[in-house]
């Protein structure tokens, strides 16, 4: 009987549950609709993050004639993406043909989502840095290498072109990221004291989150 308490203590020790593909999901994260969420591997979901996988496209009333099973993935997140504390990720929805419909959301690789954001984008491409306290309104599209400044509200349906900096309420394109955005000095060892750079490879950051 002496082994059991130590065993429970061991599982309770780490804050994160690590999956086979290296995803780290916090025990304090709030995840609904787990079957509808895919994580690409080496992705971090932190404490108090709310993933609303339960908001899916309604099942078609008439089943597919081919008999193919309708995929109901509502949130798909790529590799080495970090979702910080307090962020809510919910698939976007809108009125379509008189019915309120939810659309699947896609988040790419090496995306950093800062703390306390509300993300309802239709798609976020790779190497995007979203700072803290941002709101991405329904069905906006964020392309590659975009930096979103703190406290930005990206309006609904906005398309953010690649290599741009977005800021303000409502969000406007306020500039372009430099050519060196996301490039770290040396292969792995960045000299910034952090080992990773904004918009770059987040593998180092994922590695040190424990």
């Amino acid at each position: 009987m002496a082994t059991r308490p130590t065993a429970t203590r061991k599982t309770a020790k780490g804050e994160y549950i690590e999956t086979d593909s290296g995803n780290k999901v916090s025990r304090k994260a709030n995840i609904s609709g787990t079957p509808n969420i895919t994580l690409g591997g080496k992705t971090v979901i932190m404490a108090d993050v709310h993933l609303r996988g339960d908001l899916t496209r309604p099942k078609a009333a008439t089943p597919d004639p081919k008999g193919a099973k309708q995929s109901s993935t509502s949130i798909s997140i790529g590799r080495c993406t970090v979702v910080s504390t307090g962020t809510v990720i919910r698939p976007p929805g809108r009125m379509s043909r008189g019915v309120y419909t939810y659309y699947p959301m896609k988040i790419g690789d090496n995306v950093f989502v800062g703390p306390n954001c509300v993300i309802q984008a239709a798609s976020i491409s790779s190497h995007v840095h979203i700072s803290e306290n941002c709101v991405l309104q329904p069905l906006c599209v964020i392309k590659e290498n975009v930096k979103i400044l703190p406290h930005t509200v990206v309006p609904a349906n906005m398309v953010v072109p690649p290599n741009s900096v977005v800021g303000g309420r409502p969000g406007r394109i306020v500039g372009e990221v430099g050519e060196g955005y996301g490039v770290s000095v040396g292969a792995v060892a960045g000299g910034s004291g952090e080992g990773w750079v904004e918009g770059g490879d987040l593998r180092e950051l994922v590695r040190i989150i424990k």
Binding site: I173, V185, V188, G193, I208
Partner: protein
């Protein structure tokens, strides 16, 4: 946006060289910069400094000139135009003829600038729901501020070609001819009246259109005047006369018209003087006191809410209106992809792939890969605390370490230089003992001369360290982040003058001691009193970085002063630049 501390800005060398397009003789530039280097220290507070300070990722590097290049010392060439909203490429010929705005259905809200969507005005009925093309009417609506095109009285019949539909409708739903039709109409009018006796007849065709009931707007005046001048020029073209240089002379008007038209350049003759427009049909704008009074009345009755703000006015495509009811949705401005060249030697520094949806570059020579990276952070922050700040607490908490510097208290910062080059470098740092300006902050670099290792393959280092695994100095990864060194190494270690703090594969860190100065307006302040000026409490330390290294191979076009043969095919190189370290903010 407030600045995030700490930061490092690099001063591009173009700050003390005149940036003219004319190629300068290299000797003079060299002489200038060398004398500057010896005599002056860089002042981050000078008003010129703002134009030369850049974060490292915005800088490029010219491999021919061996200097960093900022946006001021590069020239740009447009590779392609595209709409940021629909991400369609626009051919440059279209840009030349139609202007730099999207001609599809991309529009911005005139109130809040966010993107407008085309929506059905009424909820569709059950029968319409399944139709391929839902019937209209449609409106443009902003989901951010709830503005719709109904606010200016505009509805659309179709969901596509909004631009075409918008062109023929004025605010309030008045159908007007498109600019082209309008021009033709105005020309027809002018041809009909060779002399002014037929003025009665002239008016009648205008009255047929509903637009005639409304007062003519600026577009009408423009098209009328445009066609009037064109007809006048056609009349005078045959007969040559003496050239005149006043505003109303035909030659200057012709020049003016050429600005507005996109056609081929016509041969410049010397046309004779011609008359000015006399009627409204000819584009004469008459002053009427009643319209002014109406305007004042409108201002008085509708109030502040109904007037436009300066930013809304400047956001309009043309004719800045006074009232929100006169605002028009603005077509989305196009964006470009550009390649960059060095201004001095015309070498290509960056060239993105011309396709809109790719983010790859064909050529990209970054300063990041050629110049050591200088970074600074507070000695008290451990990487682990940095991480928790980043992902949990709001930025105000995260910044506390840097934004609450007390005057006359010593603070220690960790200055790290990372070497991107494949050769080991020798670094010499220099800084003025006190920062320029009224708030004199004392800055001391404890170890101004040190070496930084080469940026060798990570695996080389890893393989070497396996042989001596119990060596505690196994810190190949990022500074301070390595697994081997505990993050709380600061309490066991004392900063010593003349000694480096820490060292890794291609990075070295040293301690910088900063004693913030006294802010003006406080009792301890010596000197002229007065208010604290904007950003005077921000501590920015100018640091001069000189890097020496030996590199293999001799590049073409080397300057003999900078490169000296050392033997064995190696050459000695020297790179020197100023950078500014933003350490924090002093509290009063």
């Amino acid at each position: 946006m407030s600045q995030q501390f700490p930061y490092t800005y690099y001063s591009c060398s173009c700050v003390d060289t005149p940036t003219s397009l004319l190629p300068l003789s290299r000797k003079s530039v060299e002489a200038r910069s060398s004398s500057d280097e010896e005599e002056t220290t860089f002042d981050p507070r000078s008003s010129r400094a703002n134009f030369s300070l850049y974060p490292l990722e915005h800088l490029l590097y010219c491999t021919e000139c061996h200097q960093m290049r900022c946006s001021r010392c590069t020239t740009e060439e447009v590779l392609c135009w595209y709409c940021p909203s629909c991400l369609f490429e626009v051919p440059s010929s279209t840009v030349r003829s139609e202007g730099n705005r999207c001609t599809r259905s991309c529009y911005n809200c005139p109130i809040c600038t966010s993107f407008l969507t085309v929506n059905l005005l009424d909820a569709p009925t059950e029968a319409q729901r399944d139709a391929e093309q839902p019937p209209g009417p449609f409106i443009l609506s902003c989901s951010y501020c709830n503005w719709t095109s109904l606010d200016i009285g505009i509805k659309f019949d179709k969901a596509n070609n909004i631009t075409g539909q918008l062109q023929r409708v004025r605010n309030g739903g008045i159908i007007v001819p498109t600019p082209k039709e309008r021009e033709n109409q105005a020309e027809r009018l002018l041809r009909k009246q060779p002399n002014h006796e037929e003025e009665e007849e002239v008016k009648s065709p205008l009255e047929e259109t509903p637009a005639a009931q409304a007062p003519p707007d600026a577009d009408d005046f423009f098209s009328n005047l445009n066609s009037f001048y064109k007809s006048q020029l056609a009349d005078t073209e045959t007969s040559a006369g003496p050239a005149e240089f006043n505003v109303h002379s035909p030659s200057s008007i012709q020049r003016l018209l050429n600005l507005y038209s996109t056609g081929k350049k016509t041969k410049r003759g010397k046309p004779k003087p011609m008359r000015e427009s006399l009627t409204t049909a000819e584009g004469l704008q008459e002053y009427s006191s009643s319209s002014e009074e109406e305007l004042i009345h409108r201002l008085a009755t509708s109030g502040w809410e109904a007037t436009t703000s300066p930013s809304q006015r400047s956001f309009q495509e043309r004719h800045p209106p006074r009232f929100t009811s006169d605002l028009r949705p603005t077509a989305t401005l196009l964006r470009t992809k550009r390649s960059k060249r060095c201004k001095t030697c015309r070498t290509l520094l960056s060239r993105p792939e011309p396709k809109v949806n790719t983010t790859r570059y064909k050529i990209k020579v970054l300063a990041l890969n050629n110049i050591p990276k200088v970074s600074i952070r507070s000695l008290n922050t451990t990487p682990q605390s940095l991480l928790t700040d980043l992902v949990t607490i709001s930025s105000s908490m995260q910044q506390k370490e840097y934004t609450t510097l007390h005057p006359l208290m010593p603070y220690q910062f960790l200055l790290t230089l990372t070497n991107p080059l494949f050769d080991p470098i020798k670094v010499t740092l220099a800084t003025p003992t006190t920062t320029p300006g009224r708030v004199q902050t004392r800055v001391t670099i404890l170890c101004p001369q040190f070496d930084v290792g080469a940026n060798t393959d990570v695996w080389d280092d890893a393989l070497n360290s396996t042989s001596s695994q119990n060596n505690p100095k196994r810190k190949s990864a990022a500074p301070g982040l390595s697994v081997a060194s505990p993050p709380d190494n600061s309490d066991g270690k004392q900063a010593e003058a003349g000694k480096i703090w820490d060292k890794g594969r291609n990075w070295t860190s040293v301690i910088v001691e900063v004693v913030p100065g006294v802010l003006p307006g406080t009792p301890a302040f010596v000197g002229e009193g007065g208010e604290v000026r904007e950003d005077e409490g921000v501590v920015e330390c100018p640091v001069f970085v000189k890097v020496e290294y030996e590199s293999e191979g001799l590049g073409a076009g080397e300057t003999p002063e900078r490169v000296r043969m050392v033997g064995e095919g190696k050459e000695k190189r020297e790179v020197a630049f100023w950078c500014v370290l933003g350490v924090g903010k002093i509290v009063g």
